[in-house]
């Protein structure tokens, strides 16, 4: 006879723990060996009971964040962790996986998804609730395009001073006006200007103005007035 998989439930709502226990009892190959309502109790029980799996609500009264997930893993190297949380935002889910959990189920789908999640995670796979997996996949699919659009532009390589000078030049100020405004020499402004042009791959003031308008640095309509 194969031994039952031993589960520890960690959630600060006793009634929710009751609900989880009822769901788990639908499968006779699992047994709940302990319950905890705080991180402190959780770590103590992991150490004492060495469960195969922890069902974990991350929002616990004595700790915020995900740091203690590593503490659980350090106590019991082969332990599997399935988060059961009320949070459904992608950043939260990503952070949970980065911290070392193996699966994620949102609380309201526990009755339908929990047993699938437990089985999957105990096999050594990762599990994600279908109600959140769609947004995660969408995010991953758009990641490459997003990186290109949202960040990593050449503009990011400009120093704060170069940014400042770029705005003034794009607003139509002459080198001398910029120099006077910033109390620096014409030569210094010229040096900054050529650095800006080189970094952004621009060759004329018109290109600089166009670039500034494109990224939202200036409003071209203003020039018409």
């Amino acid at each position: 006879m194969t031994h039952k998989k031993r589960i520890l439930i960690v959630d600060d709502h006793p009634m929710f723990r009751e609900g989880l226990k009822t769901i788990i009892s639908r499968n006779t190959s699992y047994e709940v060996v302990g319950e905890a309502g705080t991180v402190r109790q959780c770590l103590q029980l992991v150490k004492e009971l060495k469960p195969d799996l922890v069902l974990l609500d991350i929002s616990l009264p004595d700790q915020k964040g995900f740091d203690f997930v590593r503490d659980i893993v350090n106590l019991s190297i082969n332990i599997r962790i399935l988060v059961v949380s009320v949070h459904s935002k992608i950043d939260y889910i990503v952070r949970a996986f980065q911290a070392g959990v193996n699966g994620y189920v949102v609380k309201e789908s526990a009755a339908d998804k929990l047993l699938d999640g437990i089985s999957c995670v105990l096999k050594g796979d990762y599990f994600m609730d279908t109600s959140v997996s769609q947004q995660v996949v969408k995010k991953l699919a758009g990641l490459k395009a997003e990186e290109k659009v949202v960040s990593g532009s050449d503009y990011d390589t400009l120093t704060p001073r170069e940014q400042e000078i770029m705005v003034l030049l794009a607003e139509g100020l002459s080198l001398k006006n910029v120099a006077d405004k910033l109390f620096i020499s014409n030569k210094t402004v010229e040096n900054h200007r050529s650095n800006i042009m080189r970094k952004l791959g621009l060759h004329s003031t018109i290109e600089l103005v166009r670039y500034a308008a494109k990224i939202g640095l200036i409003d071209l309509d203003n020039w018409k007035e």
């Binding site: 929710f16 609900g19 935002k89 609380k107 949202v150 503009y155 001073r161």
Partner: protein, 239 residues
């Protein structure tokens, strides 16, 4: 010309200046207090009400586990209630997030805005082009982050409510010593003067609260709109 007398007129504006300063500081405190309250309500909604509703849902979902002979009508009613609770949890969670994302303090503002614009698209189906430049390495304090976040939130809320737009672009640019924010839509636009007159009568917020926030940050905001040609909002705020 020979001058043998003159009249000297002066007005002490110290009180006026002092009053302006006082009003400015008071408004700033009001905005911060409003944000603290929103944070508290958002936290209660998410970590108390949504949590408790989850407990109710899991209890309903497992209510008849030990009673296999339960009448089908009862089981069906239970399912309907459970679905209703699930819809309510989602609404509570959305409302909590709309009031204030719980992780804004730890998050970088660009990521927070990116997530917000994605959610905005999911809810409104108005396409969003979100771009950020020159924001890497900028360390903003919590207050600045929340002000920027609220400006974008308010700007997009206006687009959703009034613009009838199909696309909106949000651009945020680090332009030392300022941050520049552009929100532009392709909607129906409006007559700015007419709108201002109406707003004064109706005491409605929206663009006015954005202007108020920008003023408090000693920033600058320009709105451009023409009927049928969309709306552009350009904001410059000191870092």
């Amino acid at each position: 010309m020979h001058v043998d007398s003159y009249i000297y007129v002066s007005k002490d504006v110290t009180y006026k200046k002092r009053a302006e300063k006082y009003i400015n500081s008071f408004s700033q405190q009001l905005l911060l207090a409003q944000d603290r309250e929103r944070r508290m309500i958002s936290y209660e909604l998410h970590d108390s009400i949504a949590q408790n509703l989850s407990v109710v849902k899991v209890s309903l979902d497992t209510l008849f586990d030990d009673y296999p002979e339960i009448p089908q009508a009862l089981s069906k009613k239970n399912k309907i209630l459970s679905n209703l609770i699930e819809t309510t949890i989602n609404s509570v969670r959305d409302l909590s997030y709309e009031l204030r994302p719980s992780n804004l303090d730890e998050m970088d503002i660009v990521k927070a805005l990116k997530t917000y614009t994605e959610d905005f698209y999911e809810r409104s189906k108005i396409k969003i082009d979100f771009q950020s430049n020159g924001m890497k390495g900028l360390i903003l304090n919590s207050e600045s982050k929340i002000h920027i976040y609220r400006l974008v939130q308010e700007g997009l809320r206006n687009v959703r409510k009034h613009a009838n737009a199909s696309i909106v672009s949000v651009k945020i640019v680090g332009a030392s010593p300022n941050i520049i924010l552009n929100i532009e839509d392709n909607g129906v636009g409006f007559d700015i003067k007419e709108r201002e007159r109406k707003l004064d009568n109706e005491k409605r917020l929206g663009l006015r609260s954005m202007q108020e926030r920008v003023n408090l940050l000693s920033g600058f905001m320009r709105i451009k709109s023409h009927l049928g040609y969309g709306t552009k909002i350009f904001i410059k705020i000191p870092i």
